[in-house]
Amino acid sequence: MSPGLLYALAGMLLFVMGLAGFALLRHLLRRLMAFNLVGSGTFLVLVGLAQRPDGEPDPVAQALVLTGIVVAIAATALALVLMRRWFDLTGRTRLDGEADE
């Protein structure tokens, strides 16, 4: 088994685990961490699969993942601003438990 495939499979598992966590967890901060795990898993798949059996790394895949990491931190930081403000105004760390209105 090539290292690329190994990490890609690990990434796939992380994706599935993170998604399950995303569906089950209710605490906003935990959901955010689950989202980041899903992202990391996706990035591992992207780079792992782009690596050829001879071990040559693919600069394009790496550039894509670098873009992905920056998008992820932007989304994470934005989500944190939103949830901290939500917490300040309502004292709650989760969204469910009340109607939309």
Partner: protein
Amino acid sequence: MKAGVVTVLALLLGGILAPVVVAVASADPGTSLHTLVQTRLEASGVEHPVTAVLLNFRAYDTLLEIGVLVVAGITGMSLSRAGARAEPELRSTNTLLHALARWFVPLMLLLAAWLLWAGSHRPGGAFQAGAVLAAAGVMMRLTGLPTAWIAPGPMLRLGLSAGFSVFLLVAAVGALTGRAFLAYPPLLSGPLILVIETLLTLSIGMILLGLYVAAAQRDGADE
């Protein structure tokens, strides 16, 4: 109940995806972008292939991605209303941290500059450097060093959009001089990429730091 259903679905998804991942890994795509990057590397103006892809071959992705960062920064600012600026509780009184910060902040600034410079010919670049800058800012903030410049205001707005603006201008100049949008003038691509990266570093650092500060502000309930 719900946990069980989700677990079963997750196992199912994993069971479907695992053979797909294995199949893709063993497949041989006819084309390889890797060799294409190598053959065109010289024309890109930088020696490091990842930087060449990010700032030249696929610069449009990067432009939009910086846009995503700026949007996050804007939204952060829009939610941190005027008022609570320098909050005393944010500062740590830990003297060890203070001592560390006096050494660390200049070191981190140096590291950021090195990462930025390295990006043209070896691993490193604007994103890593910007993140280090932001971390230096976080440390300054934690230890109570002056950080008034990061409060929402004209300075911050200018700073967080500077890198994006210069990138966009260079892109437009390409079109105005008869080439495609985002095409660099043939001989200037190296220096232009360095200029763009320098300003991007500053902007990325400011955006990330600005979001940190915006998250740390609170008002309303306390006042």
